[in-house]
């Protein structure tokens, strides 16, 4: 064997010199909890696609505040029930024809006037109305988030932290509110205030935060007994400071997940109320009123139901998928 002939001097074996610092060095950067969650979220394709769809919908809603293909509330009785038409492109369903008849020619619509998704029974442009309706749904989403964060988190933390009689009373109040079906509360509110955005907001303010408050209370009760809270208390931190500095950061994953689950419920509420005719008053377009109008004309103009339906389903789907993704990312134990 050739190898055995190699002579190695004892000098070749020196202890490697490694400093204590280097030994302790961690090769990959330490991930914080949030970074780790975001890394997990990025692996979930459905959630990421949903996120970008939502970004797109938000962007379109903001842009269409300034530019809109037509005025969403302008009525033109010469243009009623025009099917969708995309310029001069001859694509089925988008060529302005219904039952083989060119409705645009029949109604003497001047050349160059197109309605990308058609018009409703008052000749209003469906696409522009869908933009307005989507924007309202998103406003509702933002408002519901706000109440979830302010009332829900606040209520839960106070109830869990104070304990004793305060907790008992606060829990009884929650039990009473939640023993009335949400929609009944919402409808009663709508009766007291006039139908419109304000009453929907009040209704959401009353009902949407219940689940959040319950979850936050349960978690606060658990956190309360942990050593770091005890340490903070012993050091004389005020309850407020403990709540903001120690409780909220530890509750953040619950807060994020639950908020994402509240949003689709709130969007559904608004659409539902407008659908049964006690939500936003005419002529404001909301996805609910559009769906109601569409359902009335379903047998002759199915597109009036189909397009708003697609928008609301995509919106709900995107929020639900993103919520699922966030839950898996922030709370990996829960699903696998």
């Amino acid at each position: 064997m050739a190898d055995s002939k190699i002579k190695l001097s004892p000098d070749a074996f020196k202890p490697a010199h490694v400093s204590a610092d280097e030994k302790e060095k961690i090769a990959t950067p330490a991930l914080t909890f949030t970074q780790d969650a975001i890394r997990r979220l990025k692996q979930n394709k459905a959630a990421i696609i949903s996120f970008w769809i939502l970004v797109f919908i938000f962007a379109v809603s903001i842009i269409t505040l300034f530019v809109s293909p037509h005025n969403p509330n302008t009525q033109n009785l010469n243009y009623t029930y025009l099917p969708p038409k995309w310029g001069n492109l001859n694509i089925p369903f988008f060529n302005g024809k219904q039952g083989g008849v060119d409705m645009y020619a029949q109604n003497n619509v001047p050349k160059g006037v197109y309605f990308l998704l058609g018009t409703d029974y008052l000749g209003r442009d469906l696409l522009s109305r869908i933009f307005v309706g989507t924007r309202i749904s998103l406003e509702i989403a933002v408002i519901a988030t706000f109440f979830d964060l302010v009332i829900g988190v606040g209520y839960g933390i106070i109830s869990g932290w104070k304990g004793g009689t305060t907790d008992t009373i606060m829990q009884r109040v929650i039990e009473i509110i939640s023993s009335v079906p949400n929609l009944v509360v919402v409808i009663l509110m709508l009766l007291v205030f006039k139908p419109g955005m304000t009453s929907i907001i009040v209704a959401i303010a009353i009902t949407s935060w219940i689940t959040m408050a319950r979850l936050i209370r349960a978690q606060t009760l658990q956190l309360k007994d942990q050593e770091f809270i005890l340490a903070a208390r012993t050091l004389g931190e005020s309850s407020w400071k403990i709540a903001i500095k120690h409780l909220v950061p530890n509750l953040s994953s619950t807060i994020i997940i639950q908020t994402m689950f509240t949003i689709p419920t709130a969007i559904f509420f608004e659409a539902f109320l407008s659908y049964i005719g006690i939500g936003l008053p005419a002529p404001t377009a909301s996805l609910g009123t559009l769906l109601n109008d569409g359902q009335k004309a379903l047998q002759t103009q199915p597109y009036l139901l189909v397009y708003p339906a697609i928008v609301i389903v995509v919106l709900m789907l995107a929020f639900n998928l993103l919520a699922d993704g966030l839950r898996d990312a922030f709370d990996p134990k829960s699903s696998h």
Partner: protein
Amino acid sequence: MVKYVLKRIGFLILTLFLVASITFFLMKLLPGTPFNNPKIPADQIAQLKAQYGLDKPVWQQYLVYILGVAHGDFGTSYQFTGQTVSYLISSRVGPSLQLGAQAMVVGTLLGILLGAVAAIRKNTWVDSVATIFAIIGRSIPNFVFAALLQYFVAYKWGLAPVALWEDGFSSSVLPTLALAMAPLANTARFMRTEMVDVLSSDYIELARSKGDSKWQVVARHALRNSMIPIVTIIGPMAVDLMVGSMVVENIFAIPGIGEQFVKSITTNDYPVIMGLTVMYCFMLTVVILIVDILYGFIDPRIRLSGEAN
């Protein structure tokens, strides 16, 4: 146990009392009156008000109302002259209960099936399809789903009656499906999570090492144990069904209490709104109470752990 049930029933009565009171005073805050037609002369309005007891001071009206509610008397409807609210509700509760029960059975059974299959075939295409189906079911508003069912299945393909409650069971098929969608999606999601948990537990390992086939393990051990927590979502499911019934009954023109509720709101028929609100709360609280009691019976571990504490 008896003490617990009595305590819960006491709390249930308190809740209903509060709900009835709050509803009453909210109704009194309302701007409109049911007799605000300008064509009715003032003396006739006064007469109508006297007839319905609306000329008395509010506290007297309240006492009369609360005492009536305690006896199951919710007053008289403004909308249908001379009909008592109790009669109106009891004559309409049948179709709603039938629909609700059918939807609950269909929803939970299919949901359990879907969730179980997804869990057994975890991380395969079967799982993906089931999960996508459940998420879509959660995302389609029930009124959209109902309208689409009505258009395609009933109108286009003529497979079921388009609306109304006249052909017995066949007219309940589409509304049931529309209502069952939400419970189905929720049960499936819940079932999958539970089943995945159960399938990785020790007693399943034991059953496998004993030599049971995969299907024996599922049928004898996994399915039963993962179905226990499903009981807890019956409460929220009941809410879903009540809410859903309002639109679904409307779309399919079914004479149920959901349709009545929506109709009463648009006509300011306060006694009916108050009566139905209390009714909905009563049904919901009773369902939740039954579920809580049942839960202890179904799963002895919960009772045991309760006693140990």
